[in-house]
């Protein structure tokens, strides 16, 4: 969580300094939920994150270096500067590289799980994360129904951060809570306070285990508030100040810190050293990547197919 927050803050700084092409999308306020998804997964599982899942990615095993290389457009990163920012992953290692139509990632996870079942692999699960906005898309409906029909070990996590870009939940859906939809799909549903790390760990741990144990798809709906804009270009002036002042508006990092102090699992000195460790790690990665330089268009092969001989390429420059 802490490392993700510090990494995100660095990206925001680089963005303001004009060092990043395109947008920057932060997970501020969503780290507790995100980290809980990541730590609930094991090596060999599948993770399709949403755009605010730096914490979950790190917990799942993505390196700071991969994140920095993608944001800064290094050809050495997993996307080789062909794609950027949050559109990164290593599908063969179970970390999917999202397309922008986020709901479309869920059925990809389904297909990976179906393939594993074909091949007799039954002890892995797949987690897909979306926001409440994506639940309004047809792709999400199709995919959750598909997962339920096939009884796949899918954990679908909905981070209801109250705003899809600027659109509030009353213009997004009309049911009381999105978790009500679970019954309609024939899947198990759970709600959680997304600002509460302990609660998130418990609920995600349980949902992931249920999926792993063969109880079919699991829907987890977390309520929280995005404590930043949609992207760093957005001042989030549309967020209702009453929400900011409500319990939902509390910073999950502060909540987690209190929980750790209460249980005496950590003290102030620990926080300080974790923080400086994280800062050093991020700074080291950024300075390394900044020396790597950008991609060379003349070295790009401009082939969209893996079968090189089938590329049309006619009239291409």
């Amino acid at each position: 969580m802490l490392l993700a927050r510090i990494l995100d803050e660095k990206f925001a700084t680089l963005y303001r300094g004009g060092k990043i092409f395109g947008g920057v999308f932060l997970g501020r306020g969503q780290e507790a939920l995100s980290a809980s998804v990541g730590v609930s997964l094991r090596q060999g599982d599948i993770f399709a994150p949403l755009i605010r899942d730096a914490a979950g990615r790190l917990a799942f095993g993505e390196t700071v270096l991969d994140a920095v290389r993608t944001y800064l457009g290094s050809p050495l990163g997993p996307m080789r500067a062909r794609d950027g920012n949050v559109h990164r992953g290593k599908p063969k290692e179970g970390l999917l590289a999202m397309i922008s139509h986020l709901g479309a990632m869920i059925s990809v996870v389904n297909g990976m799980l179906m393939a594993r079942r074909f091949n007799g692999v039954v002890d892995t699960v797949g987690a897909a994360c979306i926001g409440e906005g994506a639940t309004s898309t047809g792709a999400v409906h199709e995919a959750l129904n598909q997962a339920s029909v096939e009884r796949l070990p899918l954990v679908l996590v909905v981070a209801n951060n109250q705003y899809a870009y600027s659109t509030s939940t009353d213009r997004q859906f009309a049911c009381e809570s999105l978790v009500e939809r679970a019954v309609g799909y024939g899947v198990e549903g759970r709600s959680v306070d997304g600002t509460d790390l302990e609660a998130c760990l418990a609920v995600l741990g349980e949902a992931t285990q249920r999926a792993r144990d063969g109880y079919g798809p699991q829907l987890v709906v977390a309520d929280l508030l995005r404590l930043c804009g949609h992207g760093e270009h957005d001042d989030a002036s549309y967020i209702d100040p009453r929400l900011r002042q409500s319990a939902m508006g509390r910073d999950c990092l502060d909540v987690a810190r209190e929980q750790l102090l209460d249980r005496r699992w950590a003290d102030e000195k620990d926080f300080e050293s974790w923080r400086s460790e994280a800062v050093a790690k991020v700074e080291e990665a950024v300075s390394k990547v900044q020396r790597e330089g950008g991609p060379d268009p003349y070295k790009e092969d401009w082939n969209a197919l893996s079968s090189k001989h089938l590329n049309d390429g006619h009239n291409a420059l």
Binding site: P78, M79, R82, D83, H87, G89, K90, P91, K92, L96, A97, I99, S100, H101, A104, M105, I106, S107, V108, V109, N110, G111, M112, L113, M114, A115, R116, F118, N119, G138, A139, E142, A143, N145, Q146, V149, N303, A304, L305, S306, S307, H309, L310, N311, D312, G313, H314, N315
Partner: protein
């Protein structure tokens, strides 16, 4: 013994399932029922657990195919009608077609699109969508015109490490027969000279190849020798074979069953006009369906798309230019 175009498609899938444990079939009604057109007849029984009925969810069907491909499988997807693939369009063009370029992970999926008009099909069961898929980078688009190609190209589609849009023509399903299945085939991406002639080149693909061949037969009685080029795959497009034919004949007519704006015929003409202008003795011509939805009534439908009659008229006009 004779085998139809549809049976060739079924046989190719049976062989792919038998030869490669990574292959499975997923689509609506493809299981015990054997598919809306019976292209998967008896396959669920012959290959238990590997021919799966899907919910009516084209988006999720293609998405799942991409996921399975990431895990090393080689799914064959049946879209019940090409027209319905638009519901899965996003997954095809944004997910499947970008995967390799973005992540270096190949996406070997085959998407079968039962395409083209049949009598009474109407606006939503008759479309030819090859051009819209060819527009996107990252896809191979096949349009087999013969029983032999339906068989060998479908096997090739499954073997290719990239997403293949396999446009099989419904009109040819039962009409077209061959004596036996082929044992060898032209490489993917190579066009075929379906008939030799010295006076003009008609470039066609899919069902229009047979209309063009009928025209060539007819014009031969008027001492006009038509060369017919069957493109076989429209992406990649075999520009060399088209150009070589135009070099021999000096005249070009392109025929496509899909709509006129953009598309295969305009692409062929653009390539010949820009790179082979000096080969042309007359302005290149093209013939497509009318720019309306595909009509329901047989008499409207017959007038909507190119037929041997309208192609012959265009060819006679071209020979006089």
């Amino acid at each position: 013994m004779s085998i139809t175009y549809l049976e060739a498609i079924r046989e190719a899938q049976a062989r792919a399932l038998a030869d490669d444990p990574r292959v499975f079939i997923y689509g609506q009604d493809v299981g015990d029922f054997g598919g809306a057109f019976k292209a998967t007849k008896n396959l669920a029984q012959g290959f238990p657990g590997r021919v799966l009925d899907a919910p009516i969810s084209e988006d999720a069907i293609i998405g799942a195919a991409v996921g399975a491909a990431i895990e090393g499988m080689r799914p064959i997807i049946e879209m019940q009608f090409a027209d319905f693939s638009t519901v899965g369009f996003n997954q095809i063009v944004n997910q499947a077609a970008t995967l390799f370029w973005r992540t270096r992970v190949p996406c070997p999926i085959t998407i079968r699109l039962p395409s083209g008009g049949t009598t009474g099909g109407g606006p939503f069961h008759s479309q030819c969508l090859e051009a819209i898929y060819a527009h996107y980078p990252g896809l191979v688009v096949m349009t087999p015109a013969t029983v032999e190609d339906a068989y060998s190209m479908l096997l090739e589609a499954v073997a290719i490490d990239d997403p293949v849009i396999f446009c099989e023509h419904k009109y040819l399903y039962y009409h077209l027969k061959a004596e036996k299945l082929p044992t060898e085939a032209l490489p993917t991406g190579k066009a075929r000279i379906a008939r030799h002639g010295r006076d003009m080149t008609i470039v066609a693909y899919s069902a229009m190849v047979h209309e063009a061949l009928a025209v060539a037969e007819e014009l031969a009685t008027e001492a006009i020798e038509v060369e017919v080029v069957d493109l076989r795959t429209i992406k990649p497009l075999d520009t060399d074979t088209v150009m070589a034919s135009v070099a021999r004949t000096g005249r070009l007519l392109c025929v496509g069953e899909s709509w006129p704006w953009g598309g295969v015929t305009s692409e062929v003409i653009a390539r010949v006009a820009t790179e082979g202008f000096g080969l042309l003795d007359a302005p290149p011509q093209r013939l497509n369906a009318k720019d309306t939805p595909v009509p329901y009534h047989p008499s409207l439908w017959a007038a909507h798309r190119p037929t041997a009659r309208s192609i012959a008229a265009a060819a006679r006009n071209l020979i006089r230019l």
